[in-house]
């Protein structure tokens, strides 16, 4: 079916209608929830961003993956330099330096989310797979540089996401289970040490809140307690659109951004949550299918890693707002209000789409 649609259109315009329609469906669902949480003003701004996002996605979908591969190392170098610049000249907001002012406010760590999978996919493109110890070591170093720089801003959430996106490339490249298991073991042992010497006070507080939210109900744990109340009080069918008292009466914090899934859960209930997760699942499976269909290592690796990263967004966000994971500030992709996150995600989806569009061209 897709084949026929594809052929029906002008050969120069490459669109994966499956992915596009799923994304538009998700956006509409998200706007519905955002309207309830933040009103028409936010919806209007979000729609503009989404439109820009769709344009960006469709633009990137036309690019040949070859071209992306060519600029990957340069992009990586630029990203690292920008991250260093942020630490030196960065614009401070809410106790963290994440922004650079170049005409508009710009967050280089968002760029890193795209650059890391690209550069690692480029790296493995020329390596024999499964990777040997040396190439693993090189790629780990390549990964750690931006991760540490972002972590220093400090931005725990993004550094985790960037780290994860790199690890997915390694995983898909065939990193042996031996390394995976020992890697997990290393992280488990290193965590307490990192806790002691490396986490800042606000990061510690977030983790502590996660471990014991009832400890201090008006302080940092307020968010998570109110979020759980919002989710749970929604029940199976929800309180109805615009009827969520936790949201409408401001008990739920940040309900347009990080905690928008709590709003959805309160107003549309478990049914609404499951529908949302099914849409996400469809997008993720489509992305994995595209990666699976790709014949080139570079295409496979970055399409797969970007798709899995997209999934990790959903998992961490849903986990943190429901009290399964610490609150690390990861937005719900394409639903949370916020410009940078939408553009980054749409760009990554555009790249995945380009892999699909160019699968045959590469083959020939």
């Amino acid at each position: 079916m897709i084949q026929s649609q594809h052929n029906f259109h002008n050969k120069r315009h490459y669109v994966d209608w499956w992915l596009l329609s799923l994304i538009v469906l998700l956006m509409c669902y998200g706007l519905l929830v955002l309207y309830s949480a933040g009103g028409w003003v936010l919806v209007k701004q979000q729609m503009i961003r989404m439109a820009l996002g769709i344009v960006a996605m469709l633009f990137l979908a036309q690019l040949k993956p070859e071209k992306l591969s060519g600029i990957a190392p340069w992009l990586y170098i630029i990203t690292v330099m920008l991250l260093i610049a942020v630490l030196i000249f960065g614009y401070e907001s809410k106790g963290a330096q994440r922004w650079l002012k170049i005409g508009i406010r710009f967050q280089p760590s968002e760029l890193a989310k795209l650059t890391i999978p690209l550069v690692l996919a480029w790296f493995y493109r020329y390596r024999v797979l499964p990777p040997d110890f040396k190439s693993i070591l090189i790629s780990i170093v390549m990964l750690l540089v931006p991760v540490v720089l972002i972590y220093k801003q400090p931005d725990l959430g993004t550094s985790i996401m960037v780290g994860v996106s790199g690890i997915f490339v390694l995983f898909l490249a065939g990193l042996s289970w031996k390394y995976i298991v020992s890697g997990i073991a290393t992280v488990a042992t290193a965590a307490p040490i990192l806790w002691h010497y490396s986490l800042s006070a606000y990061q510690k507080r977030r983790v502590m809140t996660f471990l014991n939210p009832e400890n201090d109900s008006l302080g940092s744990s307020w968010n998570i307690i109110q979020s759980k109340i919002a989710i749970g009080s929604g029940g199976l069918f929800g309180k109805g659109w615009q009827n969520g008292s936790q949201t409408q009466l401001d008990f739920l914090p940040e309900h347009s951004t990080d905690f928008i899934l709590s709003v959805l859960a309160e107003e549309f209930g478990l049914i609404g949550v499951v529908i949302l997760l099914l849409i996400y699942l469809a997008i993720i499976f489509r992305g994995l299918y595209i990666a699976f269909q790709a014949k080139d290592t570079f295409n496979r690796l970055f399409a797969g890693a970007l798709t899995l990263t997209f999934f990790v967004y959903v998992f961490i966000n849903a986990g943190m707002i429901s009290g399964l994971l610490p609150v690390v500030g990861v937005p719900l992709p394409l639903v949370s209000y916020g410009g940078t996150s939408i553009l980054t995600i749409m760009a990554s989806l555009g790249m995945i789409m380009s892999v699909y569009n160019h699968r045959k061209l590469l083959k020939s």
Binding site: Y126, R127, V128, L129, P130, F171, L172, A173, G174, Q226, K228, I229, A230, I231, G232, S233, G234, G235, L236, S245, Q246, L249, D250, F251, A265, G269, L270, V273, V274, L277, Y280, L281, I284, F285, L288, A291, F292, K295, T297, R300, L301, G304, L308, F311, V314, F315, A318, G319, S322, G323, L324
Partner: protein
């Protein structure tokens, strides 16, 4: 390209590895999504009810609306106690940035002194930061307006309107109505939390405490929806509070005032009661105090001056003061003699000035040297002949005296509607055995005949007994609150009418006969039946009791007692007077009773014959 590969990339192996990893990815994604769905299932289905309850608790705020306290009126509908709208100045500690400076700025506006400020600063330390602290409970109009115009400079401070309890009559009524005060921790344990959520005051003493339940009223509730900032968005339900019940006393406030003033400089108690229905017309304990001082907490200085005063103004003598009945017991003893057929109506006895028990040296004296001569029952009462009663008491014996007097409620609680009444004491052989561990001596019977020894009564108990005597045996429960149903009980159905009339006549003769001890209060308009008495003040030597030396220091003088009812043939009022250290029952206490009786009966007369003047 620039990486020198030793091995050739094998496309087939790589595809297999990659497909294998995609397969694992799908598995991981499915597991992770299942975890998320199970987590939401846990919160939204299993924990749903708890969390829904929490969400409602967030949304809905219930405030209690305190009811207005009931008013108190006198028997003629005169307002005695009401609630006045007033303002208090308070602040919420967490909303005030620099408390010390702000309080100093307030100092001239609402007249605070350094002491007040120090107390307030101390209070802040032991107070939750969100709970308001009262700077001044009652702002005058000038204070209020000078605060209001500068209110914007005092963030965290506010003048709050509320109803304050107001006692129109202070000293003269304090012991009856008592007062309300701020609810403290002890009150909180006692009071029903749900009904007192918004209430700040509760009855602490007197009728205010006894009738708390009825006076307090039913609180209302205001259920509102409010947001996270606590702003009220919508009132969901309002149940208006129901004001407390008004209370109408049996007290005649004018008579109460008269009785209080009639005591003059003396301390003591005056109780006037309508013997027919038990309504207490006046019940004075002097000195009194100002109940208004207690409403918002009395200052330490004022309180210690009340506590340390030798006149004990906080002590309610009417129900707590214990006095010997003295000679006021004589009508009852005489009646006991008649009832037990120990003496007859025409019985006479010779008073030679003293009485001696057989084979004993001790002499029990008459108050009149040389005695009163030949004396019958009425004369024994009119002239208060002690030897007549020494003799009669011995003839009756303590057991018959006790068994007879107990029907007049001597030594029993009157069950008046004020808490803290003291039980009197009617001595008996059994009591002495139980309490003192010794046998009863005949000498003790002798002085019991004139109301001395172990006898103790409170004025209210004297009034109860007196009512039964005036009613010729009909007991009516004395009370302070007007009610439709009165409790009454006829006792002594078997006392002959002529016994009653003999005793009454003797009491009339106390006032109206030529030799009557209280003849100074006689009045042509109606007959008064009375009996004086003195209650011994201990600390004096035995021989001083009958010493007429007027230079006895005041605090050692005997208490003066007088019991009376009028009109004697149809009693409308019975009056008990206890004038502390008044020395003479007939000289000091009787005139006070006379004033009260005259005031009441002339008022009734005016009411019944409005045309006549």
């Amino acid at each position: 390209m620039n990486h020198g590969n030793k091995q050739i990339k094998n496309a087939q192996i790589e595809t297999r590895i990659f497909n294998n990893r995609i397969f694992y990815s799908v598995i991981i994604v499915l597991i992770a999504i299942s975890i998320i769905i199970f987590r939401f299932f846990y919160l939204q289905v299993i924990q749903h009810e708890t969390l829904l309850f929490n969400s409602e608790k967030n949304r809905i705020k219930t405030t209690s609306l305190p009811p207005a306290r009931g008013f108190i009126y006198d028997r003629n509908g005169k307002l005695l106690v009401d609630n006045l709208p007033t303002y208090r100045l308070q602040f919420i500690p967490e909303k005030v940035l620099d408390l010390k400076t702000k309080l100093d700025e307030l100092k001239p506006l609402v007249k605070l002194d350094d002491n007040d400020i120090e107390t307030l600063l101390l209070q802040v330390e032991n107070n939750p930061a969100f709970k308001p602290i009262i700077v001044k409970p009652k702002l005058t109009e000038t204070e209020l307006s000078s605060f209001i115009v500068r209110k914007h400079t005092f963030s965290g401070f506010d003048a709050i309107p509320y109803l304050i309890r107001h006692y129109k009559y202070t000293n003269i009524l304090a012991h009856i109505v008592g007062y309300v005060g701020r609810i403290n921790d002890a009150d909180n344990k006692r009071l029903d939390k749900n009904r007192y959520m918004g209430t700040e005051y509760t009855g602490k003493r007197g009728l205010e405490k006894y009738h708390e339940k009825s006076l307090h009223g039913q609180p209302g509730t205001l259920i509102v929806e409010s947001n996270a900032q606590g702003r009220v968005l919508e009132s969901i339900e309002q149940i208006s509070p129901v004001s407390g019940n008004d209370i109408t006393l049996t007290i005649d406030i004018d008579l109460q005032k008269t009785a209080y003033q009639a005591l003059g400089e003396l301390t003591g108690s005056v109780i006037a009661i309508d013997p027919k229905n038990g309504e207490i017309l006046a019940m004075v304990s002097k000195p009194g105090f100002d109940p208004n001082d207690f409403v918002n907490g009395i200052s330490q200085v004022k309180y210690s001056s009340l506590i340390n005063s030798i006149e004990k103004p906080l002590f309610n003598r009417s129900i707590k003061g214990g006095y010997e009945p003295g000679s006021t017991i004589k009508p009852y003893i005489a009646l006991a003699g008649l009832y037990n057929n120990v003496i007859g109506i025409n019985y006479k006895m010779f008073s030679k000035g003293y009485f001696q028990l057989p084979n004993k040296d001790r002499k029990y004296h008459d108050w009149k040297e040389g005695g009163h001569g030949n004396i019958n029952i009425t004369q024994s009462l009119a002239q208060s002949v002690n030897t007549f009663y020494y003799d009669l008491a011995i003839k009756l014996g303590i057991d018959r005296i006790h068994d007879f007097l107990i029907h007049f409620k001597f030594g029993e609680l009157s069950n008046i509607e004020i808490l803290g009444e003291m039980r009197g004491l009617l001595p008996s052989r059994k009591w002495k055995k139980d309490k003192k561990g010794t046998i009863w001596y005949p000498g003790e019977t002798v002085i019991t005949g004139i109301g001395q020894g172990y006898f103790v009564n409170t004025p209210i108990q004297l009034a109860t007994s007196l009512s039964i005597l005036a009613n010729k045996g009909l007991f009516v429960q004395p009370h302070l609150i007007k009610k439709d149903e009165i409790i009454e009980k006829q006792i002594f159905l078997d006392i002959e009418e002529q016994y009653w009339s003999t005793i009454h006549q003797g009491m009339i003769d106390v006032v109206h006969s030529a030799k009557g001890s209280a003849r100074t209060i006689r009045n042509p308009n109606y007959l008064i039946a009375g009996k004086s008495g003195t209650s011994q003040v201990y600390g004096k030597k035995e021989e001083d009791v009958y010493n007429k030396n007027i230079e006895t220091p005041k605090h050692l003088r005997n208490h003066a007692l007088f019991i009376s009812f009028a009109p004697a043939n149809d009693p409308k009022i019975a009056v008990v007077v206890v004038a502390e250290h008044g020395s003479s029952g007939s000289g000091t206490a009787a005139p006070i009773a006379g004033i009260v009786i005259e005031k009441y009966l002339s008022d009734i007369l005016k009411m019944n014959q409005p045309g006549k003047k």
